[in-house]
Symmetry: C2
Subunit: 310 residues, 2 copies
C-alpha cells in the first residue's frame, strides 16, 4: 500500500431532540460531499494542511488535531504491542471550524480511519472510542454525537456507555443545511447553557426524544419529524446566531417539518419530509443570513467514513 | 344488555426511566389478577363499593372517583348529542389506594370502559382522553402513564400530545412487585421533587430513556433491562419508602436486572429477564419490608381493560 485515504462526512449534532446523544451524517444531494479527507503516505512532512478551510487551523502544526489523533492512535497500537508504520499525513480541510457541522469530528474520524487502514485495520474495534477521545481533546468531553455519525454514517443514538446505534430515517427526508459566515466555538456554546433546568421542561424534552426514537423505529415520518424540536437548549443558544429566529420561521413557513441549530450552531438545519419542498425551504432558511452562507439540500449519508487504499 | 362489567389492571407508572411517560400494565403469573372492576346495571343505588380495599375510599359517595367519572362520561356524551342510559354502578375495589400500583387509574378506566359498553361503545375513540381527565381529578395533571396501560395494556409510551404507543416487551420478562403496607399520596411524592434538575443529570436521564425505547424496538432484552434505571427522581422519593434501599440491593443481588419504585411508591418493582430467578428476586425484594406486604411475580398484561356484557 502506497497511500491510504479516508473521507469523513459533516454531521448534525444533537438533531434538536437528542442533546449530547443524537447525530446525523449528511451529504449534499448534488455536488461535492461535505467533509474532511486525510491521506497517509510513507514519506513527507508529518502534516500538510490544504483545502478551502486550511487557513482556519492553527499555524503551529504540533497543535493540529490530526497530529494529536496520530499520537492517540500510535499509543493505542503500542498498548497492544504493535508499532505504528511511519506516516506522513495530509489533511484536506473541507469543513469550516466552529461551524456546527462536526468539523473537528470529521478531522478526527478521517485521521483515525486513514491511519487504521495504513496499519492494516488492527484497531477497527477501537475507532469509535478513540474518536471520542480525539473529540474530547477539542470539546473537553467524549461526546459521540458527531464522531459517531461521521464514522458510522446515518442517524446515530450515542449514549454514555460509549455505544452508537443506527436509527432508521425515512427515505424521503431531506436536510436543508445553512452555514452562516460566523464562528461559534463549542466552548462558548456550552458556556451559555444553564447548569440547572426546570424539571417540567426536562420532562417535555425526554418525552419528545422518546417519541422520536419510537416513531423512527415505526417508520412514521410525520410523527418523527414533529418530534424534532428543542425548547430547552435552543433558546439558550439561539442568541449566539443572529438571524436564527427569522430563518427558522421562514423555513417552517416554507414547509419544513422541523428546524433547529446544527450542533451548537451557527449552522442551522431544517427537515423536509417531502423532497419537493427542499429547495424552497433552503432558500427561506438561508435568506435572513445574507450573503456568504454555505448551503445545501442534503440527505442522510449512510456510509460515514470511507477509506480508499492504493 | 342487563349488565356491563369492566376490569382494569394495576400498572407500574414511570418504569424508572420514563418519568411521566412510561407505564406498564401488570398481571400476576398465578392467582387472581390485580385490578378494579366496575359493574353497571340499570337499577340500584348510584354507587355501591365493595371488595378488599373498599374501606380505603371516602365515606361520601359523591366524592368517589367512579361517580365523578360517570359525570365526565355523561358530559362528553351530551356534548355529542347523546343521552346517557341510567346507570347503577358497583365498584369492586381490588387495588389499595396510594400504593403506586395505579389504583386510581384502574378505577377511572374500569368506570369509563364499563359505562361506554353500557352506552353502546359510542365514545370508544375518546376513552383515553377521558381517562386522562379522570386521573387529573385525583393527581392534578392529565398524566397518561397509568391510565394508558390500564386501558390499552402492555408497556405504553404516553406523551404530552395525548397519545400512547405500545412498546414491545421481551417475552421472558417478569416483574416482581411488592406493595409494603404504607400509603404515599401522589401529591406528597410530587412535593419532594426538585423544581430544577442539574442539566448533566437530565442528559443522562434522556439518554437512558432513548436507549430503552431503542433496545425494546430491537428486542434486545439485556440492553433494555439495563436501561431501566432512574438516578434523577428515585433518589428524591426513596426516603418516602423506608426499606427501599435494602430491598433494591437485595433484589439486584438475587439476580434482578433492574429495580425501582412503582410510580411514586411505596410499591417497588424489579425486572427479571430470566423467569427462573423471579421467585428468588421477589422474596429478596419483599423481606426488608417485613410482614403485611402484598407481593407477586407478574408478567405484562397485554390486554388492559376487559369488558364483559350480559
Amino acid at each position: 500500500m502506497r497511500v491510504a485515504r479516508a473521507f469523513a462526512p459533516a454531521s448534525i449534532g444533537n438533531v434538536a431532540s437528542g442533546f449530547d446523544c443524537l447525530g446525523l451524517a449528511i451529504r449534499p444531494v448534488e455536488g461535492e460531499p461535505w467533509g474532511d479527507v486525510v491521506t497517509v503516505r510513507a514519506e513527507g512532512p508529518p502534516l500538510t494542511v490544504e483545502g478551502p478551510y486550511a487557513h482556519h487551523l492553527p499555524d503551529d502544526p504540533t497543535d493540529n488535531l490530526v497530529l494529536r489523533c496520530a499520537g492517540l492512535y500510535a499509543s493505542e497500537l503500542a498498548a497492544r504491542g504493535h508499532k505504528a508504520r511511519p506516516a506522513a499525513l495530509t489533511l484536506h480541510k473541507g469543513l469550516p471550524i466552529c461551524s456546527g457541522l462536526g468539523s473537528s469530528a470529521a478531522s478526527v474520524v478521517a485521521a483515525l480511519a486513514a491511519l487504521d487502514a495504513w496499519n492494516g485495520g488492527v484497531l477497527a474495534d477501537a475507532l469509535l472510542r478513540l474518536a471520542g477521545e480525539g473529540e474530547a481533546m477539542v470539546s473537553g468531553a467524549a461526546h459521540l454525537d458527531n464522531v459517531g455519525p461521521s464514522l458510522l454514517g446515518g442517524l446515530q443514538l450515542c449514549t454514555s456507555d460509549g455505544t452508537c446505534r443506527s436509527l432508521p430515517v425515512p427515505e424521503g427526508w431531506r436536510l436543508c443545511v445553512v452555514h452562516p459566515p460566523l464562528r461559534v466555538p463549542t466552548a462558548d456554546a456550552r458556556a451559555v447553557l444553564p447548569s440547572q433546568v426546570p424539571l417540567d421542561e426536562a420532562i417535555q424534552y425526554w418525552q419528545t426524544l422518546a417519541t422520536l426514537v419510537d416513531a423512527l423505529h415505526r417508520g412514521e415520518s410525520s410523527r418523527a419529524a414533529e418530534a424534532i424540536r428543542d425548547r430547552l437548549i435552543e433558546p439558550a443558544r439561539a442568541p449566539l446566531v443572529p438571524g436564527f429566529a427569522e430563518a427558522k420561521a421562514a423555513a417552517l413557513d416554507a414547509g419544513a417539518a422541523a428546524c433547529s441549530l446544527s450542533g451548537s450552531g451557527p449552522s442551522v438545519f431544517a427537515v423536509c419530509t417531502e423532497p419537493s419542498r427542499a429547495e424552497a425551504v433552503l432558500s427561506a432558511l438561508a435568506a435572513p443570513f445574507g450573503p456568504g452562507v454555505r448551503q445545501a439540500v442534503c440527505h442522510v449519508d449512510p456510509h460515514g467514513a470511507v477509506v480508499e487504499e492504493a
